[in-house]
């Protein structure tokens, strides 16, 4: 590959880079170019190798094979500190800042301006103010970081990177927690940096953003580089096709299902937000047997809070919930599970699974009362019933006594679904069920969802992914600022309509 393209030359290049972790090949012979003074977007599904590649460039990992070239010269990046010395800086998705320290202290954490008697706080604050001004931010350097909105924290993280010489700035999913307005302001900052000659690597899953901000797009799939193209020559469909390796329209093959009686009815659910405002504002909805209903909304729209309220995790919520006609108001989570509700939570690791337990013990966790006999738990019945449901949802595991941590993300998600099914639910609540699982597992999970719905289950799922909600849902509820702003049937739904209805600033207009 040439050292320049369309007049842009390569500042940093990974050549034939591979990385093997244990028995896994995370990166396989990747040639990645970062063009000088451009925004280089890196896209790929979870597990495609994006983080590994960035980790190698930022000195977190060492490549198993391959080399790194900076301005044509081979370099060795042994640690994040060495990467910093070469002017390569990585801003993590989680920002890795200290909420308990001031803005200035955060910017200079690890590289404090020292004098013989200690840190020169005044000077740090003055420098921080200059940096913030360069980005056009009105933030007090002495403010506590934790008191700032996420967008401002993102800016502080950029200031931190800029506080030292930076040639290549790598931003890992910088917009995942930002509002539309904050994204616009971030883009302005990025354009300013690029104009100053900084090369930016921009990792994101929001394809619209990539088309807007980037100059080049590189796609990784299964640890391999599958495509690189100037952004001007491509579109969303192309990116998705490269990412998943086949036509995206085939990802969620749809077929209509008959719809039965209402199984989940919620009326006027309202959930106060600590510190004022509402997480949920008079939300009413109905899901019928056989229906798969999607709740679409941006971060902070109240999707997760809606499902938590339905399952009874938010006792402070008011409103009425009926499952198959029976009221479950005032019931505990256990009581609601007994009525036929079950929540497949957003974060498998933190909320869905008990890592210390086996696959079998995880699946049976919500159904232990059913295995009770006078002589204690019937382990034989547990094993046979769990085995049955595990086969039914197609968890790939040689033995149900395996540790649950030894499974991949998609398989772990199926374990959580199996746990739900063992409770014999009527309504399945699924919070961002496709999060962090690979494409094959997505298609398979969707097939399971369709089969369950065809068997008379009502499914309510949430997502912030347009493709998922358009592909999977029979009916779509759009949320913004705790309200349902729009309800669309599958035929009415377009991505434009969803984006418009999910805009938090449009809520007043709708409610008005």
């Amino acid at each position: 590959m040439s050292a320049s393209r369309d007049g842009a030359d390569v500042v940093l290049r990974a050549e034939g880079v591979s990385k093997v972790f244990g028995g896994t090949v995370a990166l396989n012979g990747v040639d990645f170019n970062i063009y000088r003074g451009k925004v280089n977007a890196l896209v790929g599904e979870n597990g495609a190798g994006k983080s590994t590649l960035m980790g190698i460039l930022a000195g977190v990992h060492e490549p198993t094979t391959g080399r790194i070239l900076l301005g044509g010269e081979e370099i060795r990046i042994g640690s994040p500190r060495e990467a910093g010395a070469y002017g390569i800086r990585l801003i993590h998705q989680e920002l890795l800042l200290f909420p308990n320290l001031s803005v200035a202290e955060n910017i200079f954490a690890g590289s404090e301006l020292q004098s013989p008697v200690g840190v020169r706080l005044r000077e740090q604050e003055a420098e921080a103010a200059k940096l913030l001004e360069r980005l056009g931010q009105r933030v007090d350097p002495r403010a506590l970081l934790g008191d700032l909105p996420v967008g401002a924290q993102q800016m502080v993280a950029i200031c931190k990177a800029l506080s030292q010489r930076v040639r290549v700035l790598i931003m890992d999913e910088p917009t995942s927690a930002l509002s539309t307005r904050e994204v616009a302001s971030l883009f302005e900052v990025i354009r300013g940096l690029v104009a100053d000659g900084v090369s930016v690597v921009y990792i994101s899953r929001r394809l619209e953003e990539i088309l807007e901000i980037s100059d080049f797009v590189t796609v990784l799939r299964d640890g391999k580089l599958v495509a690189e193209a100037p952004t001007a020559e491509i579109d969303t469909h192309w990116i998705v096709e490269q990412m998943i390796g086949h036509d995206p329209d085939a990802l969620f093959p749809y077929e209509p299902r008959p719809v039965g009686r209402p199984l989940l009815e919620a009326e006027d659910l309202t959930l106060p937000r600590p510190g004022g405002g509402l997480w949920l504002d008079r939300v009413s909805l109905t899901v019928r047997a056989g229906e798969i209903v999607g709740v679409y909304g941006l971060m902070g729209a109240g999707r997760t809070e809606l499902l938590q309220t339905l399952i009874g995790e938010r006792p402070e919520a008011v409103g009425r919930v009926r499952v198959d006609g029976a009221s479950v108001d005032g019931q505990s989570i256990g009581g609601r599970i007994a009525h036929g509700l079950f929540l497949v939570p957003e974060d498998r690791q933190r909320e869905g699974l008990v890592q210390a337990l086996s696959v079998k013990q995880n699946v049976s966790l919500a159904s232990l009362d059913g295995f009770g006999t006078i002589a204690g738990l019937s382990l034989r019945r547990e094993a046979s019933e769990v085995g049955e449901v595990v086969r039914d949802v197609g968890v790939k595991v040689p033995d149900i006594d395996f540790e649950v941590t030894s499974l991949s993300g998609g398989n772990q998600q199926k374990v959580v679904v199996a746990k739900a099914l063992l409770t014999d639910p009527k309504v399945l609540l699924m919070d961002d069920p496709m999060r962090g699982i690979d494409v094959g597992a997505k298609t398979e999970l969707y097939r399971i969802m369709k089969r369950l719905a065809a068997g008379g289950l009502a499914i309510l799922f949430t997502t912030s992914d347009l493709m998922e909600v358009l592909g999977m849902a029979d009916r779509i509820l759009v949320m913004a600022r705790g309200r349902i702003t729009r309800e669309l049937t599958r035929d009415e739904a377009t991505s434009e309509a969803l984006v418009a209805a999910s805009n938090p600033h449009a809520v007043e207009a709708v409610a008005g």
């Binding site: 210390a356 040689p398 540790e403 991949s408």
Partner: protein, 377 residues
């Protein structure tokens, strides 16, 4: 280049897959078994070393005496195991043992004096024991309520109870001992000494009690929904909650169990000494926690076994008695015990890291292996 990597990848995968499959069959993996048996290995090593240096160590009578000492540690540690499995900690067990011993001793010595009525009520020995155990259960329930209802961290709640229970043990008789627990036939309360010194078919009753506690505890841990839920809460409280488990109830339950086991220990010591001292079982929480972690229970909760704890108690007991036999001072014993606890936790950490590495590596190959097994089989 690419093909080379491909074959490398292939080789790594097939060999890794076989090995991982072996390791991952949780109860059967030999590495896990070895790590789980580390307390057992330590026990054998201690026995061999002390038998060599001190000839009376490995004799029937000494083993019997040592096992009685072990039982006292083990019963307390069995209760502590449930707490630690739930990712909690109970520092109050030593003091609760002391308090229940003093309460029982007082009832045997003086009876229950109802001042306004001027009446003394006497209880027979089984009732006294039940009351003693009830005191333990009550202390545990208070611990549990403070932890779940008031949201106080287990470390602090039980540290408070450590001081409060010891204070009440001292208050019971103004810091003095109840010296005579023989009872009086007239009051039908003789025979308390059987608990700590009696024999059943030539086996010390203390050891019989240990076996009973062991069997019941293993049953609770492995074969009841309660036990499974304790593991689940310790492993991931939030996941347990979302599975409809009443987390607070289970938590109160484990502290009650711990309190009962501690009280049993206190009664045993009181019975063996035939006197109730207010400072009975002081700093025994250290022994109990040491036995639990030596037995392979993770202080993070969710992983561990009752059987491991009992082996851990054997290690602690044999180590202490062996050091006494060899003539090492009590102060050095404290140094040894403290070091053993820290070493055990360090090993536990090493095991955890290894386990998570293996699991992470396995996630990638397992599906392939399963798919290939299915297609060939």
């Amino acid at each position: 280049m690419t093909t080379q990597l491909h074959t490398l990848q292939q080789r790594v995968r097939t060999s890794a897959a076989q090995e991982l499959l072996e390791q991952l069959r949780t109860p059967r993996g030999w590495r896990m078994l070895l790590l789980r048996l580390r307390a057992f290995v330590a026990l054998i090593a201690i026995t061999i070393v002390f038998s060599v240096i001190s000839s009376p160590f490995f004799t029937g009578s000494n083993l019997r005496v040592m096992t009685e000492h072990v039982a006292i540690i083990a019963i307390m540690a069995i209760g502590e195991t449930f707490v630690i499995l739930s990712a909690g900690i109970d520092l109050s067990v030593g003091s609760v043992a002391g308090l229940s011993g003093m309460i029982a001793g007082g009832l045997l010595n003086d009876g229950l004096v109802l001042h306004p009525l001027g009446v003394v009520v006497w209880f027979n020995v089984p009732l006294v024991i039940l009351i003693g155990l009830g005191i333990g259960a009550g202390c545990g329930a208070i611990n549990g309520a403070i932890i779940t209802k008031l949201g106080v961290a287990p470390f602090i709640a039980t540290l408070g109870m450590l001081s409060v229970a010891r204070g009440f043990a001292d208050l019971r008789n103004n810091g003095a001992t109840f010296p005579n627990l023989a009872g009086d036939p007239a009051h039908h309360n003789t025979g308390f000494d059987f608990l700590g010194t009696g024999n059943v078919l030539h086996v010390p009753f203390t050891i019989v009690l240990l076996v009973i506690f062991l069997v019941v505890a293993v049953y609770i841990a492995k074969r009841t929904a309660f036990g499974r839920r304790v593991y689940a809460i310790g492993g991931n409280e939030r996941a347990a909650e979302l599975a409809g488990i009443r987390v607070n109830r289970i938590k109160v339950g484990v502290y009650v169990i711990s309190g009962i086991c501690a009280a049993m220990t206190g009664l045993l010591i009181t019975s063996q000494l035939n006197a109730a001292f207010p400072d009975t079982a002081t700093s025994y929480e250290l022994n109990a926690i040491a036995a639990v972690v030596l037995g392979g229970t993770s202080l993070f909760g969710g992983r561990g076994t009752i059987g491991g704890t009992v082996i851990g108690a054997f290690v602690i007991g044999f180590l202490s008695d062996g050091l006494v036999l060899v003539g090492v001072s009590e102060f050095w014993q404290m140094v040894a015990k403290g070091s053993v606890i820290v070493a055990a936790v360090a090993l536990d950490e090493a095991q955890r890291r290894r386990q998570s590495r293996v699991s992470a590596a396995a996630a990638s190959v397992i599906e392939e292996v399963v798919s290939s097994e299915k297609s060939t089989g």
